[in-house]
């Protein structure tokens, strides 16, 4: 016990001394630095500044601009803000999100934002207008001001006429097969200030069939009447030339009126047509087969479209227990105009009854497929006939031998 007591005393003393030293040190250090930073600042200083001191706006447009009020002094300040000069023809005020503001408290070495709102009154002439804002401490010892120059430009009436039509299309590029029908949807907006008839013209590749029609209506049109400020949907129906090659084709659509015109560029990406033909070399769709014996037939597949066909499956629909085999089992790719021969082996089950059966072969290229229905005539094997004839011959020979040996001639 005594031993323990003796040993603990110096440790606790040491720890408490260390901790108090550290606390004192840290505190005096932080305090010292803060005081030093404050010493760098002037005793009192405020400033008000606008985000932009000169702007150009259109007549009739409102102004909304950030004002920054900064306190750069060592003590917190209550600052009155006011607009000392508002040009004639404008209504202006200083506000925050929720209030109009006349005074603001800014803590030492910080800044706050206010908003200058200015609305022009009707009939304001274009020109240059100057706004002044003043910031003043409560004791009027310090003040700061800022100046904002606003130049208003006249309304651009002439320009608006020049771009009086607006064409918007959501899907300017369409992709599809050559034998397909493409339909673009255009939104034509009349920005003129009167009702106008617009002519619709389109320019595309040669031999292509391009027509305009109203949305949801089946008739072709070449002009539309549109009221001011209204937008109308027009469908552009494009039928590519049947022999067009795969590729990208631009189509220019022009909407024009005497006062204005607008153009839109549409693009069609042709992937070619998907067409497949299949058949037998001589056109015969029937085949004879013996029970349990394979019968061969060769069919061809031809890509008659203008796009490449890929992964062509060869399938069959057949009676159970029958075997239908293809060589090759499937065709990987076929370029347009390609011609492939496929050997088909049909093996009826050896239990099959004599007669005609339907076997359906299907050449399936995913997008297109071709079906061939074959009539397979299962025939009886002639082996039995020969055996039978052999037996009868044997019997007849036996009879003849009997005649000769027992004939008693």
């Amino acid at each position: 016990m005594r031993y323990k007591n003796n040993s603990r005393f110096p440790l606790t003393t040491f720890l408490s001394v260390l901790v108090s030293f550290l606390i004192l040190c840290g505190w005096s250090d932080a305090f010292g630095e803060d005081a030093a930073a404050k010493k760098d600042l002037p005793a009192r200083s405020i400033a008000i500044s606008a985000e932009y001191t000169g702007i150009i706006i259109k007549a009739d447009d409102d102004i909304s601009m950030d004002l920054t009020v900064a306190n750069k002094g060592r003590q917190d300040e209550d600052i009155d803000v006011s607009l000392t000069s508002v040009p004639k023809g404008w209504d202006a005020r200083i506000k925050t999100y929720s209030f109009d503001v006349t005074g603001i408290h800014v803590a030492s070495d910080s800044s706050k934002s206010l908003t200058l709102k200015a609305e022009p009154q009707d009939g304001l002439k274009p020109g240059t207008y100057i706004f002044r804002v003043l910031a003043q401490t409560r004791d009027k010892k310090l003040s700061s001001s800022s100046q904002i120059t606003v130049t208003t430009t006249p309304k651009e009436e002439e320009k608006k006429v020049a771009r009086g039509i607006n064409i918007v299309t959501s899907y300017p590029v369409l992709k599809g097969p050559t034998d397909g029908k493409f339909e673009f949807s255009l939104e034509v907006e009349n920005k003129l200030d009167k009702e106008t008839i617009f002519n619709l013209t389109a320019q595309g590749p040669e031999n292509w069939d391009i027509n305009f029609k109203p949305a949801y209506e089946e008739k072709y049109i070449s002009s539309i009447r549109s009221k001011e400020g209204q937008s109308q949907t027009v469908a552009v129906v494009v039928k590519p030339f049947a022999l067009a090659e795969a590729g990208e084709y631009p189509i220019k659509v022009k909407v024009s009126s005497p006062e204005a015109e607008a153009e839109a560029e549409l693009t069609i990406v042709l992937t070619g047509t998907y067409k497949l033909d299949a058949g037998t070399a001589n056109g015969l769709l029937s085949i004879n087969a013996l029970k349990g014996k394979p019968a061969n037939l060769s069919i061809y597949a031809k890509n008659t479209g203008s796009a490449t066909l890929e992964n062509i499956q060869l399938l069959s629909f057949k009676p159970e227990n029958w075997k239908v085999e293809f060589t090759p089992e499937n065709i990987e790719t076929m370029a347009p105009g390609d011609f492939k021969q496929v050997e088909v082996t049909i093996t009826p089950t050896d239990q099959a009854l004599v007669g005609d059966y339907s076997v359906v072969l299907n050449v399936d290229a995913g997008k297109v497929s071709k079906t061939l229905e074959l009539r397979v005539s299962v025939r009886a094997s002639t082996a039995w006939a020969w055996i039978g004839i052999g037996i009868i011959l044997l019997v007849v020979i036996g009879l003849v031998v009997l005649f000769i040996r027992l004939g008693r001639r």
Binding site: E320, N321, S358, S381, I389, I392, V395, G398, L399
Partner: protein, 323 residues
């Protein structure tokens, strides 16, 4: 040949002038006419609402008008013609003592039996051909359908099969007339054999099949059992010439029949898909295919007919005829 022709001519004359032939022929002809007449009447009614009936002419022979069809009737009672024509051919000569007189003429001994058999076959052929022709005439008048080439060929094949079938029974009765001295004995023996082979074999086949593979309890019988049972029945029944003949002729006369088996087994054997794809083309078989299907039957019929005659020939040639 001189002797053979003389015997043949005499036998033929005997056949056509005998009362029993006339009675028998009248009976067979009458029943055949009635059955085909009934078939014709029914057919006319049936054909009115139907289209695309293939080979309507053959229906005259195969459709069951009243009780049985023409071909069924021939398969049942055709053997009687053969039996009646042959049961006393040798032993009657023997009993009357004319056989010794016959062979003492400048006639070879085998000419006697050959001539008798040949005369029987020709009689049978004339009977059958005339019946078939009369029925065809009936059909033309009654139904108004003209047979096509294929139908004519099928009827010819049917005729040949029928001639062989009845000749088989002629051979059997001649064989018995050589074996047995008594006329009544040989007649009874051949009738007994006919009844046994035609009726009891079919019954016996049922019994045998059910003994080996019992079916009937629906829960315990598997489809394999049913097929096995049927196979045994079928194989056993085919020992009967009547079964062979009726299976063969049914297939020949009905081109739509694709197997000699009866329909219940086909249903068992055919898968649904197979059935569907097969019924896609409801085509009749060609004559060649029908012939190939029944070729084993045909072979068996012709072979046993020839063998039967060969045995009669052999027995007769080595027999002592002077006593």
């Amino acid at each position: 040949m001189q002797g053979l022709y003389a015997i043949f001519k005499k036998e033929l004359r005997d056949h056509f002038t005998s009362y029993r032939f006339v009675i028998l022929f009248a009976l067979i002809a009458m029943v055949s006419f009635i059955s085909s007449y009934m078939a014709g009447i029914h057919m006319r009614e049936n054909l009115e609402g139907m289209s695309g009936v293939k080979f309507p002419f053959l229906l005259l022979f195969s459709s069951t008008g009243a009780l049985f069809s023409m071909i069924q009737f021939v398969s049942f009672f055709g053997p009687l013609i053969g039996l009646v024509l042959g049961f006393d051919s040798i032993n009657r000569e023997r009993a009357h003592g004319t056989l010794i007189k016959l062979v003492s003429q400048p006639i070879y001994r085998d000419a006697v039996i050959n001539g008798k058999f040949l005369a029987g076959v020709v009689t049978i052929s004339i009977m059958l051909i005339s019946i078939v022709l009369v029925i065809s005439g009936f059909g033309l008048a009654l139904v108004g359908v003209v047979p096509g080439i294929e139908e004519i060929w099928r009827i010819i094949v049917y005729l040949i099969l029928s001639i062989f079938y009845i000749s088989l029974w002629l051979g059997v009765s001649i064989l018995f007339s050589i074996f047995f001295k008594g006329i009544a004995t040989s007649a009874l023996a051949s009738v007994a054999l006919w009844i046994f082979l035609s009726f009891f074999v079919s019954l016996g086949a049922d019994v045998l099949a059910n003994t080996i593979v019992p079916i009937g309890n629906a829960n315990e019988t598997t489809p394999e059992d049913v097929i096995k049972n049927y196979r045994i029945k079928e194989t056993t029944a085919r020992f009967s010439p009547m079964v062979l003949y009726s299976e063969a002729t049914a297939t020949i006369i009905d081109p739509m029949q694709k197997t000699t088996r009866t329909s219940d087994l086909i249903n068992l054997r055919m898968n649904p898909m197979e059935e569907m794809l097969s019924s896609r083309f409801e085509n009749p078989l060609t004559l060649g295919q029908s012939l190939l299907v029944v070729f084993p039957h045909t072979t068996a019929l012709i072979a046993i007919t020839l063998i039967c005659f060969a045995i009669s020939y052999m027995v007769f040639m080595v027999q002592e005829i002077r006593t």
